[in-house]
Symmetry: C3
Subunit: 136 residues, 3 copies
């Protein structure tokens, strides 16, 4: 086992990638690893309090068939934000909003879902990123 945290940079805001990210975070937390999420760009937008549970679409490559597979399978499944909430209960999972992206959208901490711990700069994020850095 590794002592180094798993650092996930969430860039994409589509539900397929956010779901993949939540599953990786939960898997790492289940293996007793510290996890840090850093929310940028379209992923940060998806964590706004007023839209976190809304439909965020899927990657362009999914196509209509892939979108339908996801929709059908999604019913009765946990939302990715619930998977993240659960990952926090079983492990040490920090969720940080990128200060530059906050500025780009012109939003403040209050606009974000309470799942988000704080706003931080990229240097602070990289300082803790002594293990894998995964961009999603």
């Amino acid at each position: 086992m590794s002592e180094d945290p798993v650092s996930l940079v969430l860039f994409s805001g589509t539900d397929d990638k956010l779901n993949a990210a939540a599953i990786l975070a939960a898997g790492a937390a289940a293996m007793d690893r510290k996890v840090n999420l850093f929310l940028q760009y379209w992923a940060l937008d998806a964590f706004r309090a007023d839209r976190i549970r809304k439909d965020h679409g899927v990657s362009a490559e999914a196509g209509p068939e892939g979108a339908e597979v996801m929709r059908r399978h999604g019913e009765g499944q946990q939302h990715w934000s619930d998977v993240l909430a659960q990952a926090r209960e079983i492990g040490d999972v920090g969720i940080h909003a990128c200060a530059l992206s906050m500025e780009m959208f012109g939003i403040s901490k209050d606009d974000l879902d309470p799942l988000v711990d704080d706003v931080e700069g990229v240097a602070t994020f990289m300082l803790e990123a002594t293990g894998p850095v995964t961009f999603i």
Copy 2:
């Protein structure tokens, strides 16, 4: 040199990204590193036995010009599945299908190309992921 394995999460199913992934896997194997691939979502779909050699398109951003460059260059080049098969011959490369994505598509191991070793959960994958975790 690092003793830690290179863990590649394959999410995208377009031929440009699958090709990039195969090249990274082969490069890591050539450097004597253990490589683990974890197939999720649209990448898993691309590893189905009945479609692995079909045209999987390219990323939206490639545009018609980029698609044409790839098509022209692809002729006479190895297919990404051949690059992976070769990487397995020179090194230790495991190819694992994500159990959750298998369930989403409603498919079983028999539906996948024989290149795929087994089906595993994300926690098992993360347990071995003591080195870089690269999401493609």
Copy 3:
């Protein structure tokens, strides 16, 4: 702090992802880490001398609203190539073009912006990649 370099594989050529990559590189360099960039596919295309400063669009998922947010915020901000140039001044940042992608586009080192140090193979890149390997 980690002694291992941060290895960034730049695959995507849209301005939102190139900007995110430049920011991560600068953040890592500010934390005194060695950074290696490896330019493939559409990212390599964006580093051509005749188009590095042109509009490279944004990810499909951004949508018209996201593109407008970026455009408005981009005015008065540094271009990602300037962020990278600055990262090189404060730290040890190598920028390498992928030999296979060079061949695909049929271009030579002279076609690239002077920011790019050299052309190298993936095995050479992976040899130095003892830390995180982040695919963007």
